[in-house]
């Protein structure tokens, strides 16, 4: 078998060092095998399931595009889930990016003890998933939680947060902002430190203000990194699941029924695997469209040093 593979490679690439190619093939084989089994095969099956009625117990029953039609025309929860997810994304992404950027500018000051502050800022971001959810369930308690106690300290009566359909999404967005000092801030900080000082000096010579420096030097020089993180954050926000599952189970009044939560309920509570597969494909298409659109818009505002051809 091995011999056969070597022979095939020999025949296809007679002029290369056969041994190196064969070895390279061996080294990447874990990924290739993994991709075939845990990537390509599931993708193909997922397309097929999305065209079927399938409850795992009986064999899939082909029904054409019925799942997609039902989703688009007969399922108000589907649209609710899309709305909730878009709302969450529309606020979480800009707020978290701006928050991290401001913190990065702050910890870029070379004052004594700055490393300790960076560590403190980073700490919350290591808390994630279920623990984060449980902690914030208590933090957001309308009567005795820390958030509303703090608001009361300033004379404001806080909302019902997770118990109100109006405030449940803002509550989850607020929770996500606890980690603005994490990896994102570190990346922004590294990018800030990579900006050549001469650029700022030029602004100084021209008599520019702090704002001129920030808007005309910092932002353009950091735009590739900011852009990358906007793309990533949108993807993360589309995937939000654990918080809603643990904290609200989609309520109240389906106000936190996010796309992936609804998909999960369909697949693993109702065992409508075909329907859920169709949802997964719609999510993929939405993700692709949004990402492509971002790249298109990005071309207008992202500044790449040394021209586009640089990398």
């Amino acid at each position: 078998m091995m011999h056969g593979i070597i022979n095939i490679i020999r025949r296809v690439y007679p002029s290369y060092k056969n041994k190196q190619i064969f070895l390279a093939f061996l080294f990447v084989s874990p990924w290739v095998v993994g991709f075939l089994i845990f990537g390509l095969y599931p993708i193909i099956m997922s397309v097929y399931y999305s065209l079927c009625r399938y409850d795992v117990l009986r064999i899939p029953q082909f029904i054409g595009f019925a799942n997609y039609r039902d989703l688009f025309f007969d399922d108000p929860y589907f649209w609710k889930a899309i709305w909730n997810t878009l709302f969450y994304t529309a606020f979480r992404v800009p707020l978290s990016i701006i928050g991290s950027l401001l913190l990065a500018v702050l910890v870029n000051n070379a004052v004594r003890g700055i490393k300790i502050f960076r560590t403190i800022f980073f700490m919350p971001s290591i808390i994630a998933g279920v623990v984060l959810s449980v902690i914030w369930l208590w933090m957001l308690n309308p009567q005795y939680g820390l958030i509303n106690s703090a608001l009361l300290f300033f004379g404001v009566t806080g909302p019902l947060w997770l118990q109100s359909a109006e405030w449940s999404k803002p509550a989850l967005i607020l929770m996500s902002l606890w980690s603005i000092g994490g990896g994102r801030m570190i990346v922004f900080l590294a990018a800030l430190q990579g900006i050549p000082q001469q650029l700022y000096e030029v602004v100084d010579i021209d008599g520019g203000s702090w704002w001129n420096k920030f808007w005309n030097v910092t932002v353009p020089m950091m735009s590739p990194v900011i852009f990358l993180w906007i793309v990533l954050e949108v993807m993360f926000s589309f995937q939000v699941f654990t918080e809603a599952y643990v904290m609200t189970q989609g309520g109240p009044l389906n106000s936190t029924l996010f796309y992936n939560l609804y998909l999960y309920y369909k697949a693993f509570d109702d065992f409508e695997m075909g329907y859920a597969s169709a949802m997964a494909w719609i999510l993929l298409v939405i993700t692709l469209i949004v990402t492509l659109a971002q790249f298109k818009i990005g071309r207008k505002w992202v500044y790449y040093e040394g021209d586009q051809a640089g990398k």
Binding site: F122, Y144, S149, A267
Partner: protein, 277 residues
């Protein structure tokens, strides 16, 4: 000018202090709640220092929840996942960074493109596949995939690091008749320890906190991981905040310890991934 600098430093410190306070208060609040009885918990304004320290909250957690079993399960899944990810992603990254072969760059771009794929697309067929294999209620669905490639992001991270190793090292070893596997194992891996540590820690964070995976694949209660156990616990003890916060603190401790011991690797990982992309 000097006065200006003084003012500036005062402003910076004030801002740093305020932000730190806001970010750190939740931790203190949770620890404080975990040591309180109900009479201290349900008060307005909040009582920061408990009137008497209720360490029982912690022992109650151990009584009501098989914490040790969950902990052991979590450690097992996490350690196995880390081993799989580190071994396989470094192998693959070696081929992309240190070997020359046709189609290398095209395949690398393809590997990166797979990061775009939402896991929901593969989740259902994988569940069906693992069900057919009889792997439900075992740790295999959580561990085995880690040994096959170890994730596009980790491959990317390690490739970036391997590229910084001087080419002369490989050439010298090859001329001495060193096999590629030995170059990988005896030269590249030892040199790449910081990058491997970063991958290991990011994998730890992901695996330790993973909820959806265990939720789908582990239905037997005693097989659960800590994340799963804690989620179940919340459902059962909804208003017993003292005990719930004690359980949360217990789950946070390993993460916080790892963070403090390996801080620089956390930061390195983000810097390595974020800039060169």
């Amino acid at each position: 000018m000097k006065r200006n600098k003084l003012y500036r430093n005062i402003t910076v410190y004030a801002a740093l202090a305020i932000v730190s306070l806001v970010l750190i208060l939740p931790f203190l609040w949770i620890i404080s709640t975990s040591l309180k009885g109900d009479e201290d918990i349900f008060t307005t304004p909040p009582q920061w220092i408990p009137t008497d320290l209720r360490w029982e909250n912690y022992s109650t957690v151990f009584d009501r929840m098989p914490y040790i079993i969950y902990f052991r399960n979590s450690v097992f899944v996490t350690v196995m996942t880390i081993i799989g990810v580190v071994l396989s992603s470094s192998l693959v990254a070696y081929a992309f960074a240190c070997l020359r072969w046709p189609g290398r760059n095209a395949l690398f771009i393809f590997v990166l493109a797979t990061m775009m794929l939402p896991m929901q697309v593969t989740m259902i067929p994988m569940f069906v596949l693992f069900k057919e294999l009889g792997w439900l209620n075992t740790y295999k669905p959580l561990i085995v995939p880690a040994f096959f490639g170890g994730g596009a992001f980790n491959i990317f991270l390690l490739r970036q690091f391997f590229l910084t190793i001087p080419k002369e090292l490989f050439e010298a070893a090859r001329i001495d008749g060193c096999s590629e596997f030995r170059i990988y194992w005896n030269i590249v891996l030892p040199l790449a320890k910081p990058a491997l540590a970063t991958v290991a820690i990011l994998t730890f964070m992901f695996s330790w906190n993973d909820f959806l995976g265990p939720l789908i694949y582990l239905s037997d209660q005693l097989k659960g991981t800590l994340a799963l156990g804690l989620a179940l616990f919340v459902g059962q003890h909804q208003t017993e905040w003292g005990m719930l916060m004690a359980a949360s603190v217990l789950m946070m401790i390993p993460m916080v310890l790892i963070f403090f011991f390996f801080q620089r690797y956390f930061i390195k990982g983000f810097v390595m991934s974020g800039i060169k992309g």
